[in-house]
Assembly symmetry: C2
Homo-oligomer: 367 residues x 2
């Protein structure tokens, strides 16, 4: 049996509510995964992260490979123990970071030679070692090493890249060791529905315990993102978890789930928090705004997060203006709580067959 | 009755263990007060600060006067409510910051005209408005507006400054409003024992509910600090709390209590934490050191703080090297816990009449 699998609890149109079983516990989906790039969600302890309701955390293989190194993390008993987080973890493959952060990439059929963005040192990622590194890190879910094209790319580039990703996916599957980690495949193909469809067929021809859509929300217009999601997502196997990588405004999450996605990650709630932006159902609050100087309200009076239960907008603005470290934590707590609570509300809507209503009301408020 | 007073629980030589009664609760002394410059201990929530064992927090009048302003804090019901801290608070008078941070100071008998270090705007502190600002902030203990000389100063400068501080102390006492805040007097006089003695007589001739030593640990050699403490501290009234302002290495605390001090504040534990330095009984740990790269031990295996109970040196070093915000919090928690626990151990030593032994053992380890 696969170490990770889903049981569907309900569906409404293409939207699904499920439970995702993993070696570190059961996750209710749809689920948002906070990003813990360097084996920590920025500004939060594992305890804080749990208190936002987070059930699974994402960490970045590229970053951890460079610092502190997967060997150290393996020596410490794996990423869960290293960072003190006992719930499930997903690691990406490093593919996206190699293409977005690293310098002087050279792509061959074998893999990618790149220079570290930190010190310019030379490194080599192949499907085999990207999996071996993730085996060492020890996350519950690991990802195939894919080629993530930028935006825009020509049809030809997109197709060649998707073909290479499919070749690499097979090699990742062959390289994967052990029975405690589930390896997910990744569909590429940029904004071209037919290339996405072909990539989907290539990737799903390999029996992965879960499938992801990569290469979205990397700069393309939203309409094109949503078009791909709408056309392609429901074609993924019904009985496997579906993960849209790196996409994640609140509206994106609603649209993603509506079209059949189960899992999401994005730096938006955490990064925007550090820039002073809070999410609420009524839109975003930029705390720097002078109107909040003497505002005695919490960020969202209906929110039950630690920040909203304890602090006023005026105090948060004061901390932000003074760049107090505490601000980053309090803002991150609220935004993650908002995201995770949004997923819970969506799950309830699906189970009650109200997803279309929920979506309409949500989009009306946000747009 | 004064809103703040002590009851002595025990003494050993000049060292005293007491309880300090305040409008927001009882504090056991000797006590270390974490510095919450901008109405927050840097990187910590009020809950974190409580969990380090802290019983009272210090905030800076100069900073809060400039941002967000004492009027706002008064409107929010005072500094406790503004920052969500329900235990006692002490505010300094702004005297030290005006002399160390502000630009283009002009001192007259009436007060100090200065330019904000933030935007160069012009402001005026007098004994009267320094008290009025502190009345608005609403701390349990407030401090006289004093002239804090730098180091070195001539005898003549030190004496003139101490005389001015004494004049201002009387004006502060006259200006102080309300019955819920205790105003403490401040002894100055630099490193000159006879000027300190004269200042002490001037200040204690005013019936303040507590007395502080100001102008120490501002750059003078340690021997001179300790000489002043040793000669002067025990001359302060026995039945009033004694506070050494801004002085605070672990050794300083032991020496201060040994010579009769009850209260301390210092940015050292919090600031050094942010620079990667942890305090332990065996000295300081600079976490940046490569030896900690794969060190599976906690910072201090005997420490019961949140950080030591949950994280390895290797993980903390990893966070520090990557400048993860979480590091600053975890390090601050440990150092404050260490300081506050040190004060508890000193208190126990005093009550058991073991202060001299404790001091000797502590100094042997640290030096």
């Amino acid at each position: 049996m696969n170490p990770v699998y889903i049981e569907i609890d309900g569906f409404d149109g293409n939207a699904r509510a499920a439970r995702l079983f993993t070696p570190h516990g059961i996750i209710k989906t749809p689920v948002f995964m906070p990003v813990g790039t360097n084996a920590c969600v920025k500004a939060l302890t594992p305890q804080d992260t749990k208190e936002t309701g987070a059930e699974i955390m994402l960490a970045n293989t590229y970053h951890l490979y460079l610092r502190p190194g997967h060997d150290l993390i393996k020596k410490f008993g794996g990423i869960h123990r290293f960072m003190g987080w006992d719930r499930p973890v997903l690691t990406d493959s490093g593919g996206y970071q190699v293409f977005s952060l690293a310098k002087l990439r050279k792509i061959t059929e074998n893999g990618v030679i790149f220079q570290s963005h930190i010190d310019g040192s030379s490194h080599n990622f192949t499907p085999e070692n990207a999996i071996s590194i993730q085996n060492a890190l020890g996350a519950d879910i690991i990802m195939c090493f894919d080629e993530c094209t930028g935006f825009p790319v020509t049809r030809k580039e997109a197709e060649e890249s998707a073909d290479l990703t499919a070749l690499w996916a097979r090699r990742c599957m062959d390289a994967h060791q052990g029975n405690n980690q589930a390896l997910f495949g990744i569909v590429q193909g940029s904004i071209y529905p037919d290339i996405r469809q072909k990539s989907l067929e290539q990737i799903t021809s390999i029996d992965f315990p879960g499938y992801a859509m990569g290469g979205l929300a990397i700069g393309e217009p939203k309409e094109q993102t949503y078009k791909i999601i709408n056309k392609i997502l429901h074609c993924l196997p019904f009985d496997r978890p579906r993960y849209i990588m790196g996409m994640g405004s609140p509206v994106d999450l609603v649209e993603g789930v509506f079209n059949g996605a189960d899992m999401f990650d994005c730096v938006m709630p955490t990064r925007n928090a550090r820039n002073g932006q809070f999410f609420t159902d009524n839109g975003r609050i930029n705390i720097k705004n002078a109107r909040y100087f003497n505002d005695e309200m919490p960020i969202d009076e209906n929110c039950q997060c630690y920040t909203c239960r304890n602090f006023t907008r005026a105090y948060l603005r004061h901390l932000f203006v003074l760049k107090e470290i505490l601000f980053y934590r309090l803002a991150t707590i609220h935004n993650l709580y908002y995201y995770i609570n949004l997923m819970k509300r969506i799950r309830t809507a699906i189970i009650n067959n109200k997803m279309a209503d929920f979506r309409k009301q949500f989009l009306d408020k946000w747009r």
